[in-house]
């Protein structure tokens, strides 16, 4: 061993090569192919392209005229905002509460993290039972407690956003909770003691000591939450399928899946996929700029 290990690059290249090949094969090649597909005419998944579209940019023109895509974009942006406010917000509140207790902190960590390890399909089926119109847990509860006079259709146009977003929020709160708790644990107790001597306790301690010191961790959580929200697919798909209710429940991910796999409209599905990537890059860049970690913390 010794310094020669770093002078000779061959072993490093050899170790980097598999991951590089993997990325080329399974990320960059499909991505380039996807761009080509978006300009081609393809009638089924795996079917050969029947030449270029006429005109070649027709799918991109359709993007701007497609009302379902507009709905999907609106819902996805709303989901992203809700993710920032509720997912990270609730995780922050829970992390602050758990950080302030002495007994049972580990138990709460495990409990809040638990939804992450359950598959989205299982969660979707579970929430379907909770929100079921006839005999669902929530409707039974509300009717029996006299809060609602009759069953509520939780998937109708008046309620579907709550029914779709709530499980998504709930599923990932634990993920950000664990990251934030770890960040809180890294704050030195000396600072809290010094603040206490100056009379800074309770909410003031959170406002003037904890939050500023947690800024970088919080920024990371926000960037992860925003980019993650753009890719949400599985849970809404299990619960709502193709655009329920009445084509108002589309997300960019579910709409792309439906076009590609159910409708066989592969070229248009590819175009939507590119839109999702562009949005992802755009949103994550904005998030990175707005929530830029500071080196002085």
């Amino acid at each position: 061993m010794g310094p020669t290990l770093y002078r000779k690059k061959a072993p490093l290249v050899a170790f980097l090569l598999p991951a590089f090949v993997f990325l080329i094969l399974f990320l960059y090649y499909p991505f380039v192919q996807n761009i080509i597909n978006s300009f081609s005419h393809i009638n089924g998944l795996g079917a050969p392209a029947q030449g270029l579209n006429d005109p070649w940019y027709v799918n991109y023109a359709t993007l701007f005229a497609d009302p379902k895509l507009r709905t999907a974009l609106g819902n996805t942006v709303l989901l992203t905002l809700c993710t920032v406010v509720f997912q990270v917000g609730i995780a922050l509140i829970l992390a602050l509460l758990v950080d302030s207790i002495r007994v049972g902190a580990q138990l709460f960590r495990t409990l809040y993290f638990f939804p992450i390890v359950i598959s989205a399909t299982a969660l979707g089926l579970m929430f379907n039972l909770i929100f079921l119109y006839n005999g669902g847990m929530l409707n039974q509860l509300l009717v029996n407690l006299g809060i609602a006079a009759e069953n509520i259709d939780w998937k109708d146009p008046d309620h579907f956003l709550f029914t779709m977003f709530a499980p998504v929020m709930w599923q990932y709160v634990g993920f950000y909770f664990v990251i934030l708790v770890t960040g809180l644990n890294n704050i030195s107790q000396d600072l809290y003691e010094a603040a206490a001597l100056d009379g800074c306790t309770g909410f003031k301690r959170v406002r003037y000591v904890t939050l500023p010191l947690l800024r970088n961790v919080l920024c990371t959580c926000l960037v992860l939450a925003i980019t993650g929200a753009l890719k949400v697919f599985d849970l809404p798909w299990v619960m709502f399928g193709a655009g329920m209710p009445q084509d108002q429940g589309w997300l960019t991910g579910t709409y792309m899946y439906d076009q590609t796999f159910n409708r066989g409209n592969v070229d248009y599905g590819s175009t939507i996929a590119i839109l999702i990537v562009v949005l992802g890059v755009l949103f994550s860049n904005i998030a990175n700029r707005v929530f830029k970690p500071r080196d002085d913390i």
Binding site: V21, F22, A47, N134, D156, P245, Q246, D247, R263
Partner: protein, 445 residues
């Protein structure tokens, strides 16, 4: 240093090999070897080679809550016991998503060895791509293949060949909950049931607090579409496809959609018909909260399995008629069968096992466990035993059937069908006209 370099290269090599190993070997779980040599009809492959311990990948629609699931599982178990082969079953519930997934599997080269699937236009993509083997080719090596079936009832593909060995047929008709009807003072409909009588009955049932019609317009509007189209035309013209929304057939389809819209606006479907699943609305009917349900023969065994102690609460009746159609005219036929894929046929290790499996599943004995009241292509007919009350009710209703025709939805492309049925919810809520929905679907056909 040499040692370090060697170690590094060995580790990197192992990583690369691991990666490539993951990418390679496209055969899938059940592949038991064989170089996949071409020449499916090669007689040297047939008959002589032992097929013991072969794993066959099989996909059928007998998964989920299918009424014949128990019979299917029993038949698979008896095949495995008799041959020592292993069936890797990936069956699911039949719906548009399942059909799309099966077609995708063919297009991506991950098709099963044996497939139980629709024999109509739905199968054309993989039939025309040469991904399944025709019966004549199989019979050249296995002369007794499907010889217990009437050749005249084998489905004919667009190329004029037969590919699928038919299983039991189907009928679609109206199930009624007799308990609900009795509570509402409504008589069980007979073979002369008219649309006007039906509307009056629905009003009575609705006033009593029940949902008159159990149907998820979001998930399965196609049963009502079929009958409403026939109500605006004739049995003979049921399979006509519109060239445009303006021609006579297009107007017939639009009128059918408008009849569904009328039922929706009158409040005869469940409150959540646009957000409920098929399972939810069928359950509504089963537990006595809805009166009428249009469904198929496969649903009979669903009720037997899940509501066996209240079978006398259900009966098979007739879909109300208007215009030239009679209520005794129904949708039915044989629409599914077993396909052997080219992939399995070209695999010397799997060819015989696949043939034996299909022969077993379509033998007279096994078919008699599936067929109760349905159409069958068996030369000797099926011999079902011990019909339960619901099956007997179906048999009684079928005795009065005066005409049967296939479903028109089976003659259009999957993309057109998906578009048409997805737009039913937009038609009934007034977001789209019936004519526009027809035009949109026809443009994709």
């Amino acid at each position: 240093m040499k040692k370090n370099r060697l170690l590094a290269l060995a580790l990197a090599g192992a990583l690369t090999m691991g990666l490539l190993a993951g990418c390679g070997g496209g055969g899938g779980g059940g592949q038991t070897g064989g170089s996949g040599t071409p020449g499916g009809g090669d007689k040297s492959n047939s008959g002589g080679q032992p097929s013991a311990s072969v794993e066959l990948n099989v996909v059928t629609s007998y998964g989920g809550d299918d009424g014949n699931r128990k019979q299917y599982e029993a038949a698979v178990a008896s095949y495995e016991a008799a041959t020592g082969n292993k069936i890797m079953d990936a069956s699911a519930t039949s719906n548009e998503e399942w059909k799309a997934k099966v077609l995708t599997d063919f297009q991506t080269g991950t098709e099963p060895d044996v497939l139980f699937f629709f024999t109509n236009a739905d199968a054309e993509p993989f039939v025309s791509a040469g991904k399944v083997v025709d019966i004549a080719t199989i019979r050249a090596s296995y002369p007794d293949y499907a010889d217990n079936m009437r050749d005249s009832m084998l489905a004919v593909a667009q190329d004029g060949k037969n590919y699928a060995v038919p299983s039991s047929g189907f009928w679609e008709n109206m199930f009624v909950n007799t308990k609900v009807l009795a509570d509402c003072g409504v008589a069980v409909p007979g073979p002369d049931y008219t649309w006007d009588q039906f509307l009056a009955d629905c009003e009575t049932i609705k006033a009593k607090g029940y949902a008159p019609i159990a149907c998820s317009l979001f998930e399965v509007p196609h049963y009502w579409f079929e009958f409403c189209v026939m109500n605006n035309g004739t049995l003979e013209g049921q399979l006509d496809i519109p060239a445009s929304a303006d021609d006579a057939v297009g107007q017939k389809w639009a009128a059918g959609l408008n009849d569904i819209k009328d039922l929706y606006e009158k409040g005869y479907f469940p409150v959540n018909t646009l957000t409920a699943t098929d399972a939810e609305t069928v359950d509504l009917f089963a537990v006595g909260e809805a009166a009428f349900l249009i469904d198929g023969s496969w649903k009979v065994n669903y009720f037997v399995d899940n509501f066996g102690d209240q079978l006398s609460d259900y009966a098979i009746s007739y879909v109300p008629a208007k215009g030239q159609r009679k209520a005794s005219e129904a949708i039915g036929g044989i629409s599914m069968g077993y396909f052997i894929t080219k992939k399995a046929w070209d695999d010397p290790a799997k060819q015989k096992a696949a043939v034996e499996f299909v022969q077993h599943m379509t033998s007279d004995d096994v078919m008699s466990t599936f067929v109760t009241t349905e159409v069958t292509a068996l030369k000797n007919g099926a011999s079902p035993s011990g019909l339960n009350p619901l099956q007997q009710a179906a048999a009684d209703a079928n005795a009065n059937i005066t005409g049967v025709i296939g479903a028109v939805q089976d003659t259009i492309t999957g993309e057109a069908k998906a578009d048409l049925f997805a737009n039913v919810q937009n038609v009934v809520t007034g977001k789209m006209s019936a004519e526009d929905a027809v035009a949109s679907a026809i443009a994709l056909n």
